[in-house]
Each structure stands twice: as structure tokens, then as C-alpha cells.
């Protein structure tokens, strides 16, 4: 399996606080990788480094073998990287549909007609079609989370980065989200998913990476990783 994403010795610090400490990881084409770790472990910063919103102090990011470390955020979106945000950030004054069209027209250079068809399909998939003409800023939290996913999908990413998208959902909503994400993966999209809701994560991903204090402390088969003592310690506290 060829690697779609390769992150090599990525490092980022703010002052003396090292938030990403020599992290390396790779994700195969079509794979779904889970990222877990306590709050402040540097998970979201890792996404910012991969999408190009933040510049690393050192290290490389490669997409499909091509070094994109020096490519800006817009260029990386066009290359096929898109993310959802943990705290939804819709374009508040644009309608839900327009929120998606922006990504389709600029991230994927679709014509207006192609973009309209594609975005309508994405709204159908994410259950937002009834709210297509509402301003993004008028949505409830649940719908804002859906919009985050939908807007990322509108750019037809090869690599989809999901940041705690299941947080705050009810059990039923979470089940339907798992179904949606599994369907996206089945369509061939590579996924990296940061999530605290471990059972949702395990329903989709086969491999896990664990971050703590900016370092990668474990990696491997999802269930095996969850059984590691150091991971259990982070999630369940130290054994008595």
C-alpha cells in the first residue's frame, strides 16, 4: 500500500512549550488512521501543520511522495488535504450551500454546474439538505458539526482530517455519523480522525497513533494499542 501522507520528524513549539515534538507518521492510500491522546497532547496542532495553517519549525510533510512543506494552506487544499474543526467555524453569513460551493469551486476548481451537483450530493449525505439555504451562522451545534464535515467533503479531499467530530453527539447521532464516515472511507477517501469517543473511532479505523505531550508514544493495531499499559494509564489512570 503506497503512503498518501508522510509526516517526518515534525516539530513545532510556542516559546518553550513544545506542542509537536518530532512526530513522524504515515497513512496509506485509502487507510483510516485514528489519533488519540489527552487534551493538550498536540493533536489539533498536528492537523494545523498538515493543512498548512501553521508552519512547522522543522520536519517535512509529504503528500503522495511530493514534499508539500513549503506549500501554503490554499495549495494544500487544492492538492487534496481538507479538515474539519473541533470548534465549528462556518462562514456565518454565507448560506450552508454557499459554504460548500466555496470549497468545490476553489478547492477543486469545479464549474458552477458541477459544484452545484456535487454539493447537493454532499448535503444529502450529511443530512443538511433541508437547511441548504440557511445562513451558516444560524445553525445549531449539531448542524454546525455536520457542516464542518460537509464543507470538507465539498473539496473532494484525498486526505480528510476529522477533528473530534463525534464530540457532543447523542448515541443515535454518533451511530449515524459512524455510518457516514465509513461510507466516505469506502468511497476511497483516506481519513485521519482525532477522537476522544474511542468506540466510534474503533468502528472505523484499523490503526491508532497515540500522542502525549507532543510526542508519539504508541502506534499500531487499534485494539492492541488500546490494551497497552501506557495507553490505559492515560485513559484510565495509573494502576493502584
Amino acid at each position: 500500500m503506497a503512503n498518501l501522507l508522510e509526516v517526518e520528524e515534525l516539530r513545532k513549539s510556542y516559546g518553550s512549550l513544545v506542542v509537536t515534538d518530532s512526530v513522524s507518521l504515515s497513512v496509506g492510500e485509502g487507510e483510516a488512521l485514528g489519533v488519540i491522546g489527552p487534551n493538550g497532547a498536540g493533536k489539533t496542532t498536528l492537523f494545523s501543520l498538515i493543512t498548512g495553517a501553521t508552519r512547522p519549525d522543522a520536519g517535512r510533510v509529504r503528500l503522495d511522495g511530493r514534499d508539500i512543506t513549503g506549500v501554503g494552506a490554499a495549495g494544500r487544499c487544492i492538492a487534496g488535504v481538507c479538515r474539519s474543526h473541533q470548534i465549528p467555524q462556518p462562514f456565518e453569513k454565507l448560506t450552508v450551500f454557499e459554504n460548500l460551493l466555496v470549497g468545490a469551486c476553489f478547492g477543486r476548481a469545479m464549474s458552477e454546474a458541477e459544484a452545484t451537483d456535487h454539493c447537493a450530493g454532499v448535503l444529502e449525505l450529511t443530512g443538511l439538505i433541508a437547511k441548504a439555504n440557511r445562513p451558516g451562522g444560524s445553525l445549531t451545534l449539531l448542524d454546525r458539526k455536520r457542516l464542518e464535515l460537509a464543507r470538507a467533503l465539498a473539496t473532494q479531499p484525498r486526505l480528510l482530517l476529522l477533528d473530534e467530530i463525534a464530540g457532543g453527539l447523542t448515541e443515535g447521532e454518533c451511530e449515524s455519523l459512524i455510518g457516514t464516515i465509513a461510507a466516505i472511507r469506502a468511497g476511497g477517501t483516506t481519513i485521519v480522525w482525532i477522537e476522544h469517543i474511542v468506540h466510534a473511532l474503533l468502528a472505523v479505523v484499523g490503526r491508532l497513533v497515540v500522542l502525549n505531550f507532543g510526542r508519539k508514544i504508541a502506534e499500531g493495531n487499534a485494539h492492541a494499542v488500546m490494551d497497552l499499559p501506557e495507553v490505559r494509564e492515560i485513559y484510565l489512570g495509573s494502576p493502584v
Binding site: G72, A74, C77, I78
Partner: protein
């Protein structure tokens, strides 16, 4: 009674010119939150550009004016990329100072190149034509065309903003520039296109300014002031509001001038202040901002 109707009519038409001054200013502020203090001087620059094209190259005025649209677009694009982009950021002071400096540079550059003489764009007599309306009323052809041009520019800009992919990108960047980049929008290029468009609108304004009145290198800041007043009276972010603002300002100035020719500007400023006190967000503020 006829006098009153005449004042309102002339004032409304004058408002068209102020709306043209203001449209580009409003566009730039809307897209990149940049207050362009050189806006008035850029209008005057466009007028001198037309003058130079007619005088030096001997082009007919309509051709020169049309040629100025892409020329001003190119100037705007380059200005944004080379001068304004590097100073745009979280702090609003550097771009403000940069455009202030630009204003001084343009004024002095024009003084150097064209002297302080008062100039006029000559339309071969078109500028003095007027349409009689009966009952002793008449409206000038140029003021009427100015007003129609203002409506046309506003309709076109509104269509651009609300019915095209480019306009959607403008609104997305205005809403959240960081997220817009993550959606594949190259902000820098988009800003440059916006500045190009704004300066093209400046060229339209310059054409009507130059046909209707004399201009010299120093009148830019006063045009900027009228543009500001029109935008603020109308309410930030609404182009139709800007036209309304221009009309209010135009009527106020015409009425003031009718009472006493020295009161033209004073009356405009007083009405502006009165509206600012009564409706601090303008007559037609955008619903959410």
C-alpha cells in the same frame, strides 16, 4: 415649489456621483477590512490618466475612458500585491498609514507631472446638454448619466457578490480569511482582484468627475470625505445603502447651496453628523455584522 423639486432632483443626481466615489471604498473595506485613505487620490489619478491618454496619445475621450478600466485594474492589482499586501495583518494601523502615505505620493506625483492647474475632461459639448422636463425644470445629461452609471455599477457589483463564484469567495474571505485559505482560496490573489475592481470603479467615477467639474491634483481628500460620508450614512456593507447615502448627501449639499452658495459643504457635513447621532449604524445597516 419648482425650486424645491429642482433642489431635490439635482441633489439626487449629485448623489449618484458620490455613490460612485463610495462604491470602490465600500468594496475594499468589505472584502479586506482595509480603509483606503488614498481612494480619493486614486480617483483623481484615474482622471489625469484619461487626460494624458487624450492629450498625449490623442485618443478620443470615450476610448481613453474605456482604456482606463483595465489600466486602473492593473494598477490596483499591482498596488495590492506589491505595496498593501505586506502591511495587511491583524493590526489596522500599518495599512492605514501606508494608504495615507500613498495619498501624499499620488498628490505630489500628479503636481509634478501635471502642475497645479485646474483641468477638465472635454466631451465636445456633451457635458452642457440638458433635458427639459417642462415647468421650468431641466436636468443635465451628464448628471443623469452619472446617476445611471452609479445604478449600473451597484447592480453589477451586487450581481458579482451574490451570483458568482468570485463574489462568494469575496464574501467567504470577508467572513473568515483563515478558513477561506483552507478551502483553497488564495487570499492574496483575491485581494488583488478586489483592489483591481475597486480601482476600475474609481475610473468610472473619475470619468464623470472630470466631465462635470474641474479637477486638480489636490482634490482627492475631499472626494474621499464625500465617499466616507456616503458609506457611513448608508450603512456599512450595503451597496444600495451607499447609493442612498450619496443621495442624502447630494440633496443636503444642493439644499445648502441654494440657501447660500457657501453653505454647500457645511450642509452636507451637518446632515452627516445628524444622521450619525440619530442612527450610528447608518440608514441601512447590514442585518448582522
Amino acid at each position: 415649489m419648482t425650486t424645491l423639486v429642482d433642489i431635490v432632483l439635482q441633489g439626487v443626481l449629485l448623489g449618484g456621483l458620490y455613490a460612485l466615489f463610495a462604491a470602490g471604498l465600500s468594496l475594499i473595506f468589505g472584502v479586506m477590512r482595509l480603509v483606503n485613505l488614498a481612494h480619493g487620490d486614486l480617483i483623481v489619478l484615474a482622471a489625469f490618466l484619461m487626460l494624458a491618454l487624450t492629450r498625449v496619445l490623442g485618443l478620443p475621450l470615450p476610448v481613453a475612458a474605456l482604456l482606463c478600466l483595465p489600466l486602473m485594474f492593473a494598477i490596483g492589482y499591482a498596488l495590492q500585491r506589491l505595496v498593501l499586501d505586506p502591511v495587511l495583518g491583524k493590526d489596522i494601523l500599518p495599512p492605514l498609514l501606508t494608504t495615507f502615505g500613498l495619498s501624499i505620493i499620488i498628490q505630489n506625483g500628479l503636481l509634478e507631472g501635471f502642475s497645479a492647474d485646474s483641468q477638465r475632461l472635454s466631451g465636445g459639448g456633451v457635458e452642457t446638454l440638458s433635458l427639459p422636463l417642462g415647468g421650468g425644470l431641466a436636468i443635465g445629461l451628464m448628471p443623469l448619466l452619472t446617476f445611471l452609471a452609479a445604478i449600473l455599477v451597484i447592480v453589477a457589483l451586487n450581481r458579482l457578490f451574490y451570483a458568482t463564484a468570485l463574489g462568494r469567495a469575496f464574501r467567504a474571505v470577508s467572513d473568515d480569511p483563515e478558513i477561506a485559505r483552507l478551502m483553497g482560496i488564495d487570499n492574496r490573489r483575491l485581494f488583488a482582484v478586489a483592489m483591481g475592481l475597486a480601482l476600475s470603479v474609481c475610473a468610472v467615477a473619475a470619468f464623470f468627475l472630470g466631465m462635470r467639474s474641474n479637477f486638480d491634483p489636490t482634490i482627492g481628500p475631499a472626494r474621499l470625505l464625500f465617499a466616507f460620508e456616503a458609506v457611513i450614512i448608508g450603512g456599512l456593507g450595503s451597496l444600495w445603502g451607499t447609493l442612498a447615502g450619496g443621495v442624502v448627501l447630494g440633496v443636503a449639499q444642493t439644499a445648502g447651496a441654494a440657501l447660500n452658495p457657501e453653505w454647500q459643504l457645511l450642509a452636507g457635513h451637518l446632515v452627516f453628523l445628524a444622521i450619525l447621532v440619530a442612527r450610528p449604524r447608518g440608514l441601512f445597516p447590514r442585518a448582522t455584522d
